[in-house]
């Protein structure tokens, strides 16, 4: 340990140090709770800690790949001592054992906190929540992102080395990009949906949010219940499709430059395939996402929501049914187009977000076309993978002149999480780990271990 704080270690390093007897998991848990208490005030990334329950999990933790390692979990999963609230004031489900909880418990992990999220998961900024806005690990005055913003910020700020997120319209990948961490959305259905507040969604999937791809491989293997083995492909020789329109259009120039520079550094062979239906992917994703959620909302739920969320729900109530039918035709079109693209490409690649995280007090981003609400352009970049069901990952590839991270998104074929992780590790190596190891100012007081 060399005297450093144990949360300055990554997930693998924590697990290895515990297994080797070099790190006492009880001390790690205590140090993690203390760090959350010390650092999370302005970030507001953790909704709840429960030291007694965490200590009980640790006392009963079996041997496993995450034995004794603290993990934070998004407020969408049942825990035996706490019902998830989905970013809203009341429980969405009662307390219980979600499948994700069982996967973590059986791997020996210790759930140390529940993380903040955008109200009902219905936004990519995280500035709207019953628990207040979540700040960014790199600048607490900027949005931590959504909807898994708390998981991303807590990981980015070194409160924890790994957290669970969910992604129904980019909600792992987008906040991962905002916070300079690695976030993997699994293939639809790859993680258990039992005890998950959005279990009826055909778009949402859970996944790991960690500091780098190797840590995401470790946590992802636990969440997905299978060994995400390294080395399934020669990651230096991949063929990648850069789908220019709409995913490389209308980007912050620094974001575009950083992403292109990272792709060039990989040495990958690139092509520019077109995807039929891609021009409608944004609104098709919005329609599916929003309309799938409406039946779960009671009048009381809507009445208790904040004015912004209430207005959005009422807007959704008036969307014509034939638009959803059209969205589903686009979904079929896109799934076929993406499957066809993988005949000549190993991955599809474009920027995860078009611009860095906006300010909490002015949540808009400015693109070459002008100012715009981040949700609109974020779901444009990310929603396609939720419509198709394929996996995707954010890899940190730069820091903007605003001081906020930039992320590159890699999308793989269905069930191709191992390939995505191999590719993400290749990006990390090709960029000399400059961005994946970059330390946010909120964590800069940490001693390096």
């Amino acid at each position: 340990m060399n005297g450093g704080h144990p949360q300055d270690l990554g997930l693998r390093a924590q697990a290895d140090a515990i297994a080797a007897g070099d790190l006492d998991p009880r001390e790690l848990l205590q140090a993690t709770l203390e760090r959350i208490a010390e650092r999370d005030g302005p970030l507001n990334s953790i909704v709840a800690t429960f030291p007694e329950e965490s200590e009980r999990m640790l006392a009963a933790a079996p041997p496993g790949p995450l034995h004794g390692v603290p993990i934070a979990i998004k407020d969408m999963f049942q825990l035996p001592w706490r019902g998830p609230r989905d970013g809203a004031p009341r429980e969405a489900l009662p307390a219980g054992e979600s499948g994700v909880y069982r996967a973590l418990r059986d791997a020996g992990a210790v759930i140390v906190g529940v993380t903040q999220m955008h109200f009902w998961g219905a936004g990519s900024t995280g500035h709207v929540s019953a628990y207040g806005p979540v700040g960014n690990a790199w600048n607490a005055e900027h949005c931590g992102g959504g909807s898994s913003g708390g998981s991303a910020t807590a990981t980015g700020a070194r409160l924890v080395a790994g957290a669970v997120g969910t992604d129904g319209g980019g909600s792992i990948r987008l906040p991962a990009a905002y916070n300079g961490i690695t976030g993997l959305k699994g293939t639809y259905g790859s993680a258990s949906r039992e005890g998950y507040t959005h279990a009826n969604s055909t778009m949402g999937a859970a996944g790991p949010m960690c500091r780098d791809a190797a840590d995401a491989r470790l946590l992802g293997s636990v969440l997905f219940g299978r060994d995400l083995a390294a080395g399934v492909a020669d990651a230096s020789g991949l063929r990648v499709g850069l789908v220019r329109s709409p995913f490389w259009d209308d980007l912050d120039p620094e974001v575009e430059r950083a992403c292109r520079t990272a792709v060039e550094a990989t040495g990958w062979r690139t092509s520019e395939p077109a995807l039929a239906g891609a021009e409608h992917a944004q609104v098709a994703a919005v329609l599916r996402l929003t309309l799938e959620g409406l039946p779960s909302l009671s009048e009381q739920d809507i009445a208790e929501a904040d004015p912004l969320t209430r207005g959005l729900v009422k807007y959704e109530l008036l969307l014509p049914a034939h638009w959803l039918v059209r969205a589903d035709r686009v979904r079929s079109l896109l799934r076929r187009a993406v499957a066809d693209a993988f005949a000549s490409c190993d991955l599809l690649v474009w920027p995860t977000v078009a611009a860095p995280a906006p300010r909490i007090d002015n949540p808009t981003v400015t693109l070459p076309s002008g100012p715009i609400a981040p949700d609109a352009v974020n779901v444009r970049q990310a929603g396609i993978a939720n419509l198709t069901g394929q996996p995707g990952i954010n890899v940190p590839v730069g820091v903007h002149s605003s001081g906020l991270p930039i992320g590159l998104q890699l999308l793989g074929p269905w069930g191709g999480e191992e390939l995505l992780l191999d590719a993400a590790e290749h990006v990390e190596r090709a960029t000399s780990r400059e961005w994946v190891d970059a330390l946010p100012p909120t964590a800069s007081a940490s001693a390096q271990v």
Binding site: Y188, L308, G311, H322, R326
Partner: protein, 64 residues
Amino acid sequence: MDAFEQHVRAGLELAGVEIDDVELAVMRAADAVYGPGFRALAEADLGDVILEPDLDPSRPPVER
């Protein structure tokens, strides 16, 4: 009262849902952002697109 507000107030009244001015402003802003895309989708020629039978997002499409 413009056409958007008439549509919103009448539609929500039929559904028995009340609305205040702040919510109306939010709805107007949402329509400014997403409305053009929705209307482009509504006008898109998708008549020949066959819905994928038994769509399962965990797998690639069986039929192309």
